[in-house]
Symmetry: C2
Subunit: 597 residues, 2 copies
Amino acid sequence: MTYHTPVRDMVFTLNHMAGFTALEKSGAYEDLNRELVEAVLGECAKLADDVFAPLNRQGDVIGAALEKGEVTTPPGFANAYQAYVEGGWNSLAFPTEYGGQGLPQSLALSVFDAFCGGCLGLSMGFSLTTGAVKALLAHGSPQQKEIFLPKLVSGEWTGTMNLTEPQAGSDLSDMRTKAEPIGDGRYKISGNKIFISYGEHDMAENICHLVLARLPDAPEGTRGISMFLVPKFHVGADGVLGERNDITCTGIEHKMGQHGSPTCSLSFGDKGECIGTLIGKPHEGLKNMFVMMNAARIDVGMQSVSVAERALQMALQWAGERQQGRSFGVKTGPQIAIIGHPDVRRMLYLMKANTMASRGLCYATMVAWDLAHVAEDEAARKAAKEREELLTPLAKAWSSDRANETTSLGVQIHGGMGFVEETGAAQNMRDVRICAIYEGTNGIQAIDLVGRKLGMGKGKLVYDFLDDIRANASALKSANKQNLQMMAAAILSAADEVEKTTKWMVEAMGQNPEDGLAGASAYQEQLGDLAGGHFLAKGALAAAQQIDQGADDYLQSNIAIADFYTRTCLGRVQSLSSAITAGSEALPQIKPEFFIG
Amino acid sequence: MTYHTPVRDMVFTLNHMAGFTALEKSGAYEDLNRELVEAVLGECAKLADDVFAPLNRQGDVIGAALEKGEVTTPPGFANAYQAYVEGGWNSLAFPTEYGGQGLPQSLALSVFDAFCGGCLGLSMGFSLTTGAVKALLAHGSPQQKEIFLPKLVSGEWTGTMNLTEPQAGSDLSDMRTKAEPIGDGRYKISGNKIFISYGEHDMAENICHLVLARLPDAPEGTRGISMFLVPKFHVGADGVLGERNDITCTGIEHKMGQHGSPTCSLSFGDKGECIGTLIGKPHEGLKNMFVMMNAARIDVGMQSVSVAERALQMALQWAGERQQGRSFGVKTGPQIAIIGHPDVRRMLYLMKANTMASRGLCYATMVAWDLAHVAEDEAARKAAKEREELLTPLAKAWSSDRANETTSLGVQIHGGMGFVEETGAAQNMRDVRICAIYEGTNGIQAIDLVGRKLGMGKGKLVYDFLDDIRANASALKSANKQNLQMMAAAILSAADEVEKTTKWMVEAMGQNPEDGLAGASAYQEQLGDLAGGHFLAKGALAAAQQIDQGADDYLQSNIAIADFYTRTCLGRVQSLSSAITAGSEALPQIKPEFFIG
């Protein structure tokens, strides 16, 4: 199967769902316009389709390997990565003073979308690099920036995120890795980290580990964690590589999916000679790491969408080619392609609706991120920042939940061949499964949503979003088309439902958080379901407005997809309310003997 | 992790959800009583827990292997199978005249439940054997029965189902395998079959393939298919094994899961010397194979439940041991086991509710199968047969859909370790994925449901089921407990909703089947959601009645699980109605250029 970067959908989503045009109009980006965006995406599509995509299957079959502390990535990965670096793709959205191209992060996200669709196992690597750049830009010292940023911006060196330890995963408060000052502004690092994506590999000449560790005087808990820059090879003040640092890759995980991406266990300071430098202020490491973490969460949402897109394309191709069965009641004559069966078409529509809706959500989150930095006035920047904060857990969790569903549908459409590895349908399902887990499980996203995000202004962030949702639905309602009016009515009704559960949730989190937390995941799903419908409806409205100027199949298809979603998926919003408000009395403490019969 | 056969749940489910007591009272089974059932399940639990369960992981890691046409099953499989045969487990529910023990099929199903929970990859093998016995009992000639049944009943020989060919999967009408009479009542078989579970292996001395093929004068389509018995080794009239038949295993599939179970491609008659005998009448093969297929569908539902049970047990153990985080708002002090977090508890409740509800559904389907054979009067047998017909697609499809959800939740609860293969959580998800596909995809089950099953008396089978559901709910309503009354109200309301969609569906399938088929999967899910709630509510009612005679934590837990399901899952019933009735206009024919952006 040939993966095809969906440039047309990407451009449509940026412009008509995610509000990218506000960035073009902002004047903050020189030369940014529609033609440039299409040119950028068209160009990256070539690399994604021709170079990345063919590596996806062998990345799975061969996988990354560890021997004597050295990790070998699957054949072709290093060359493809080189092409990515040379094409300037890593530097797209970074400041020009460090060699970047100063374009919006949301454009870089759509480029990331293309590469992840081509080969997730490979693209996983540079998600961490761009995250490291963001953390250094925000918190690095002038010297750290000068030495490391040009190489990380270009992608010549890669970055990692070192948080997890065996006893410290979702909760980092019990982290044990230590950093001791050695007097010259440098620190000796010692400890063990696990689950470090691309913690060791053969694709770049240096790896810059961003490592969370405790200083000797650190207070307990998460307020005693500092962030360090710990390179694989020492780097002189002149930027020249020196000796190897005392970091050992002690293992790589045998995982359900993403076999091409090495997930490393790293041991720092086995010989007592691992040296790093402090990033930002002491004890502020976790807070500062969240610059990287929030970016990573949006990236994970994006990865989910990209793999779902790949699954959709494979299923669509299969459904158009596989001849099986006849229309209902027809006993003779040639078999038909299975796309002709209503239930197969239903699955394809669901895959497409999930993918478009979650792409809209992820892009919109990153456009908000950009606007939070470049919008003209303070109020607009604040509003954008709030929107980014609200949408980030949804982009991460709802997109990955939908991608798990979508990739599983991809297997289902392939029938028995979906369970056989050679079609690749199963790989999509296996690869994407981690997206609901890493960078904070979806349950943790839900806690962030009902705790921190609803806590900001007692639900204000949601109510502001509901205002936008209703404004768009009202515009749909005034369109002179019955299907758009039905869509508007369904969305307005869903928005009312979400308003009710939001009020309940804000109150519950204030009075008895256990009640709120019992319904947090269901609330997150409900808000995501509404958001997904909203972004599809935005696209449908834009399509309808353009169609008035002349019919177009592609634009019609965007209306059909939104229509399908509204009729068959949006009903979940109402049905989730009882789960949201059931409270903790629906979840009595479990005695194990209750559950093991 | 140690798998524990949930004997207590199994007995509870048989007696209080599935109506097994009617079989005890029927007098059709000598000596059948509560003590015997508990003794049988207790005994099979030892084999499942101590011998089968330890093989599950290495079955996955090592897998089945093919070399020079010979299949080697993973280490330990052959010995465990031998123990299964020697224990008499295969013969439990077969007629005593062929060496069986004459017990109910529903009891055999609960025994199968135990073994699949221990090791699905191994248990997959004898599901086909028992299916072959059922087909031979119904349609075999006296000589076929005399020679083959004793060996297949005991399990000394195994059976297979040979339907699928590369161009004939979900639709068998284009099947090409041929059978030519050679004059002595025997036939030369030639053709290629794929996806044959345990089509070749090293666990038994002979394999009896039930093969669908066409006679020379066969009409086109499914009405021209005949069934043949084609043994791996020829068998003399005296039952003694002779020469090897001309059957070659040409490949085994590299699958997403169930690595221990060899999925074979078989070539019949490469040398023109493959010999078989006709089972039943010419051209009636597909109809007769459905005896086997219907049994296999219930078995697949059961497999799903068993793997879900295994996933639940693993998740429960992990959640009780893994220390991570603190209660909301608590910053210091020791971490707590993650089972203390409401969202983790929610996932465990959902896993448990799914598992218990679908176990109730599968057992009830097989109890109906038994009653259709042994109930005292003709009317009762007819009613039971109709119930079995209605519940079979639900048992297969709803149970496997729920098991896909449940095993994925099992991965989620394990966090990052769930994606790492060594915990085994991922294996459950991979192993069970095929259950929504094989023996008729869940989409095909939905067509069977809204086509054939709703067609019987224009929805009569559903309306009869709704009568039972309402009767149970009414009994719950009259209980003097608020939570039971709420449960009853929710179920009655869901039943009303299903009555409406059933009417719509019966009409749609009569007038415009494409409209009905567009909503068939959603209808199947809706009816399954209600059925699941009904079986849990039956359990809750029985538990409440017994609690009146003295409190019991286990009985309380059954009420809590039903309560959880009613509050948080049953709402789906209402939300699915719009998807069911959206009709084919929500699924416009897809032009590929619509969907590839």
